[in-house]
């Protein structure tokens, strides 16, 4: 039991946790995100799209790692596209990059604690928050193991632990299910649903069934633009029997992409 501070119960003054208008982001010289409009509120949003659609670049821009080349980007009510101070926004962000680098000599606990310290959490809150994050991803038994001794799936879970350690208001997970075995993926979906109750979660993935199972909202991008945003049920209804795919959701996914390509080709 703890005292809830006034700041925690204060109503938010922004309609969307993530709001992009005409967002353009460069990946090197190539404009990977080109005029994307996106508005995300609380819930779990699945980001789908073919390879090279600009998913990772979009994630990096939302994580404030890359500076947008144009357009407007607002996170938690604060503009992050200009030269403004990013500190306040960054304290409310959790980010798991696709290529997730780590320090091999750190133990899982040291790593998560270090990230919590970098996220400027109060010093007294760090040990407890670290333990809770490690417990939530199911790495309790491995908390003292060095990062270099972990398997791929465990590393991924350590990465998720560092992303959620500061109870972020916007959680960005780039390909979090890579390397997880089927049972771990079920646990991970459970965790996503749990976090998504009061957080804006954006999960980039290639696995359509993950999105259908765990997400309240589907975002489909192609060639740096938003193609479709709707519920998983709505995605299922987009597909017909003639579309390629093994499940109704996959058929809906490929139908949407085909339609988009046909329109773009005209």
């Amino acid at each position: 039991m703890r005292t809830v501070s006034a700041a925690e119960t204060a109503p938010t003054t922004h309609p969307w946790a993530v709001h992009a208008e005409g967002l353009r982001v460069r990946a090197g010289r190539h404009v990977a995100v080109d005029g994307l409009d996106l508005a995300l509120g609380t819930g779990v949003h699945g980001l789908l799209g073919p390879n090279g659609a600009g998913k990772t670049t979009l994630m990096r821009a939302l994580a404030t790692v890359l500076k947008p080349a144009g357009g407007k980007l607002t996170l938690l009510g604060e503009a992050v596209d200009g030269r403004g101070d990013l500190r306040r926004v960054r304290r409310g962000l959790g980010y798991l990059p696709q290529q997730f680098g780590f320090y091999p000599r750190f133990t899982v606990r040291e790593f998560v604690e270090y990230m919590a310290w970098l996220k400027e959490m109060p010093k007294t809150a760090i040990p407890g928050a670290t333990q809770r994050a490690i417990d939530r991803v199911g790495l309790t038994a491995k908390a003292g193991a060095r990062m270099k001794t972990l398997s791929g799936g465990m590393l991924r879970r350590a990465g998720i632990a560092q992303a959620i350690v500061n109870d972020p208001a916007v959680l960005l997970l780039d390909e979090p299910t890579v390397g997880l075995d089927p049972e771990q993926r079920l646990d991970f979906r459970e965790l996503l649903r749990d976090i998504g109750v009061d957080t804006c979660v954006l999960v980039s993935t290639h696995l359509v069934e993950d999105v259908v199972a765990a997400c309240s909202d589907v975002v489909l991008v192609s060639e740096g633009r938003l193609v479709y945003q709707g519920t998983p049920d709505d995605l299922v209804t987009q597909g017909g029997d003639g579309d390629p795919g093994d499940s109704p959701a996959e058929r809906g996914y490929s139908a949407l992409l085909r339609r988009h390509r046909a329109e773009a080709g005209r």
Binding site: T3, V65, K67, F100, Y103, Y114, W117, L118, E120, G144
Partner: protein, 266 residues
């Protein structure tokens, strides 16, 4: 702090059969959160069965703590935090110190040459500073770049880590030779500040390469060829170096928002 509620109100608050209107109950609860004396009053006026219940809960919690795993030992993680830095920078710092030692040796063997230590002092910290702020060298750069702690403070902390080694090495080298201490250390600080200042615009690594090359071509090479110490390293110019170092330091602080994101050149 609110005024203390009267003992009669507290007695009615604790008596579950007494009637107390909601507003008074709230104000008592708000007050109790911050007032130890009134909490003690509440504790005294509770009935025996609730005290028994509380005692059994306390005993249960104590038992759970005793039976559970021991709390994690706090590692000396002020040291662990910089472990990556120490390992990555060590080879570069060792190289810098070795080059300075060679310069001292050459000066002793060839007294006719201009002071090599003074000529090398400005560029001595540059390789290590470039490494300290480089996305190629830091495996977790993408994680760190999205945290609120990323920025000028982090770069300065890492630079300080470099200077802690380089400055004593330079001081020892310059006292072993006939060079002046001020004309060894001030150019070193000025060039470090210049690297960071220019790095805010074109990336720290590029800035270090550019400045190092420019100094080598424009100053070291002619000095070695003509066997004469250049104007800016002759006695009397230390005031100029101090002013340059201060001015560049001011520029760095004024443009601190340049370091909020890692550019692709870092």
């Amino acid at each position: 702090m609110t005024t203390h509620p009267s003992p009669a109100v507290i007695a009615r608050y604790t008596d579950r059969h007494a009637v107390l209107d909601e507003v008074t109950a709230w104000s008592v609860e708000v007050h109790l959160e911050e007032c130890t004396d009134c909490r003690a009053l509440v504790a005294q006026s509770t009935e025996d069965d609730s005290r028994d219940l509380l005692a059994s809960i306390a005993a249960g919690v104590d038992r759970g703590i005793a039976a559970g795993p021991a709390p994690e030992k706090r590692p000396g993680w002020a040291a662990a935090r910089h472990r990556w830095m120490v390992w990555r920078l060590a080879p570069w710092l060792i190289m810098t110190v070795a080059v300075l030692a060679c310069a001292v040796g050459l000066e002793a063997l060839q007294p006719s040459l201009p002071s090599l230590v003074a000529l090398l002092a400005p560029v001595a910290p540059l390789p290590a500073v470039a490494i300290a702020w480089s996305r190629r060298q830091d495996p977790a750069w993408e994680l760190i770049a999205g945290t609120p702690a990323a920025g000028l403070a982090m770069l300065l902390r890492r630079t300080a880590g470099v200077l802690v080694v380089v400055i004593p090495a330079l001081a020892v080298a310059s006292t072993r030779t006939q060079g002046s201490l001020a004309l060894t250390l001030l150019p070193c600080l000025a060039f470090t500040a210049a690297t960071i200042a220019v790095g805010g615009f074109i990336g720290v690594r590029r800035a270090a390469v550019t400045l190092g090359t420019a100094w080598a071509v424009a100053v070291i090479l002619p000095a070695v060829v003509t066997a004469e110490l250049p104007v800016m390293l002759r006695p009397g110019s230390s005031g100029g170096w101090a002013i340059v170092a201060l001015a560049l330091g001011g520029l760095v602080v004024a443009r601190s928002e340049n370091f909020r994101r890692l550019t692709s050149h870092d």
